[in-house]
Amino acid sequence: MAFNSLTFLCFFAAVFALYWGVLSSHLRIRNAFLLIVSYVFYGYWDWRFLLLIVFSSAVDFLVGSKLEDLVSRTHRKLLLILSLCTNLGLLGAFKYYNFFVESAEVALAGLGITCGGLSLNIILPVGISFYTFQTLSYTIDVYRRKLNACHSIIDFFAYVSFFPQLVAGPIERASNLLPQFKKKFEFDGKVAVDATLQILWGFFKKVVVADNAAVFVDAIFSDYTNQSGLVLALGAVLFAVQIYGDFSGYSDIAIGVARMLGFNLMKNFACPYFSRDIAEFWRRWHISLSTWFRDYVYIPIGGSHGGWRSKVRNVLVVFVLSGVWHGANWTFVFWGLLNGLLFLPLIVGRVHRSHIDSVAHGRLIPTFKEVYMMATTFSITCICWVFFRAQTIQDAFSYLGQGIEGILENPVASFMALPLKPSELTFNFLTLIGSILLLFGIDWLQREKTHALFKLPFPMPIRIVLYLGLSVSVVEYFFGRGSFIYFQF
């Protein structure tokens, strides 16, 4: 069930009441309860998805237990390979089979060999990429002896399927989340209030900002050949806003919901659009995935050690894999590659960690140089997002080409095509612009805090008015578009 549904709100109210009212003091019963409600949450989409997650969890639970007991390196490695093959095999079969088959058919057709009909009608289980990576982190950490195996099947299954972050992250490490299933929590009113505010902010980003931006983005991208240059630029910027609002909104809701139950999930976004270079962007965007790739792929294959050739290889491998993780389409592969190419000069020049602190640290107003760097990074990111959003790589190139050409050739005509005449469209557009300004305004003020509404530096009456305003807008737009973009990954 999606967070932005009445069903979820009722579901969570019931879970919350039972959890704190009856079950929280009995650890095993509490965890069993969390497992059951997580399966209800996931099975609500399609009960058949449960078979996969149960199978995947069972394999990793057994492999983890065996890994702990075994001494032989060969046997341990074989078990790890078994886990990797099972998890990545399921992911490959359900997510990438058709992509590879169709790509192979096209390639063979180029050589004059025709073979067709190999594609299968497969449903992509929601969130499979997320829980596959989560469960893999467990097996790899146990294999590396960085983590003890979990001996409670209920705790482990509950960890894999923990409903707040099951379908779109954050991708939790076993070392962070699993031990929390062994702790008893006391209800903390202050944490609950703060978590409620984080959920409210997440909903605002999703249903008010992202869903409204999506209306314009869909209209522009689906008919880009008939749009002016400035409208195409607007489309790219709005998509950047949409995907940020959608995905970081989901993360805020997930983290907030987990905190309401006493669990702490990792931060997944840290104001990525205030980054000063692409390396900083990737430290602030989808942090749980970036760090996963860093720890389980980048560092094991050599990381930033070695000569420039191995650095180039390692960076490109990670970014291309990150692109592939996002979806079975060449556009995602190209998007990953493009980000990798943008990252390369920074890592080869050893300047990829020059912006560790938040921008304008300790200051309200950034310097001109900081503004310039943020604007440049944001513009580059928007260009990359066009490849992420377009149907094909060719579409993305013609979108960008037409946009640049349109702005350079006739900027006035481009401007006139913006929806500025009095109409319902203008109303929507101005509402969207207002909500985007509010989003980035609050994000800027709170960029060094744990979340955007944490201890806002305003007097109480202003804070209450802001919370009520956000709530009214969330209620008003609650049923915007339905699912979150990242569910498809």
């Binding site: 209800f187 109409s423 319902e424 109303f427 009520l468 009214v472 209620v475 737009y477 049923f479």
Partner: protein, 345 residues
């Protein structure tokens, strides 16, 4: 815990009060841009004494000029039809019209097309038009109709959609901005008032638009199929078994007649030509429960065979302008008979 729940409860109460307050101060929402256009126009125009309400069948098929020529005493008729409106929406809007004397102060007769309520399909869920009319009365009426009319397995889904939409209506979710939009002037305002400002827009007038060209082409390409369909309607007319539409939906029609009487307005329900794919058995059962002096039948194949001639049709469900003029005359004659007029053209 209690302290947190108290704070949350207080906040939600404040929020609910604001949502309710917004719904009270926001302008009336008509649920359909055509209604908005026509009602806005009518605020400055008060001479009409005969008004037609209904779906696109009314909008596209009832020509007030023809009606006025047949009933000269009712020389100020107006077509308040709106495309895409369901039975419950029309009854809801008709009630709003009758309860507010600022609309049509000279109104004497209100003719309402008999329609089925229609379920709320998934594609329309969460849109303002799927819920703005769902006050408690309309919700109960709709749910009662669904239970009576559809098999249980389908009814459950439809009832769920009604229930969700009702909750959204109570919480005023997604309606405030729709109400605010209605304050903004729209492009193309005035189109649905028609050439003569009487609200009649025949489908022929829409022809340059692509979607209408496609609709027309579909009908012309499948003319034989539609002829056969009309032939089926003729054969089956005597065998129509009125189908249960739920007592509350029947009662909603009777209530509208009563509300009309309080304003000295005669409410007349009209059975329209069935066209293609319209369940006559449901409409017929409503028709038969309405008092004889508040109903007219302009849907009978046997009585009006030319209304089922494909040459009078624009597409599979609507008459063309020529057909609309014939139909308007037929309806006016029936109406005049009902009103016991003495002069016959």
């Amino acid at each position: 815990m209690i302290h947190y729940l108290n704070r949350l409860g207080l906040f939600l109460l404040l929020l609910a009060t604001i949502m309710w307050g917004l719904s009270v101060i926001a302008p009336y929402y008509y649920g359909n841009p055509i209604y908005l256009e026509k009602f806005t126009y009518l605020e400055d125009s008060n001479g009409h004494n005969l008004v037609f309400m209904g779906s696109s069948r009314t909008l596209r098929q009832l020509n007030p000029v023809v009606v006025d020529s047949v009933i000269p005493e009712m020389s100020q008729s107006f077509n308040l039809g709106a495309g895409g409106t369901f039975g419950l929406q029309v009854l809801y809007t008709a009630e709003h019209l009758l309860l507010n004397s600022k609309y049509f102060p000279s109104l004497e007769v209100l003719v309402v097309e008999i329609q089925l309520p229609q379920p709320i399909l998934d594609i329309n869920m969460h849109t303002p038009r799927s819920k703005y009319f769902l006050d408690q009365k309309r919700y109960e009426t709709g749910a009662n109709f669904i239970r009576a009319y559809y098999p249980d397995e389908i009814a459950d889904t439809y009832i769920q959609n009604f229930r969700s939409s009702r909750v959204e209506r109570i919480l005023n979710i997604g309606l405030v901005r729709a109400q605010l939009y209605s304050l903004i002037p729209r492009r193309g305002m005035g189109h649905f008032l028609g050439e003569r400002g009487d609200g009649f827009v025949p489908l022929d007038d829409e022809l340059p638009k692509r979607s209408y060209v496609e609709r027309r082409a579909e009908f012309v390409d499948n003319l034989e199929h539609y002829r056969e369909n009309f032939e089926q309607i003729r054969k089956n007319e005597d065998m129509i078994v009125p189908r249960d539409v739920g007592e509350l939906y029947i009662q909603a029609h009777l209530d509208l007649i009563t509300i009309g009487e309080t304003r000295d307005v005669k409410v007349v329900f009209a059975l329209m030509p069935s066209g293609f794919n319209v369940q006559q058995n449901g409409s017929r059962s409503i028709f038969e429960r309405i008092p004889a002096n508040n109903r007219i039948d302009v849907g009978s194949y046997q009585k009006w065979p030319w209304l089922y001639d494909t040459s009078n049709y624009f597409d599979r469900g609507h008459l063309n302008e020529g057909g609309a003029n014939k139909f308007s005359r037929a309806l006016a004659l029936e109406l005049r008979l009902l009103m016991n007029q003495k002069t016959v053209n």
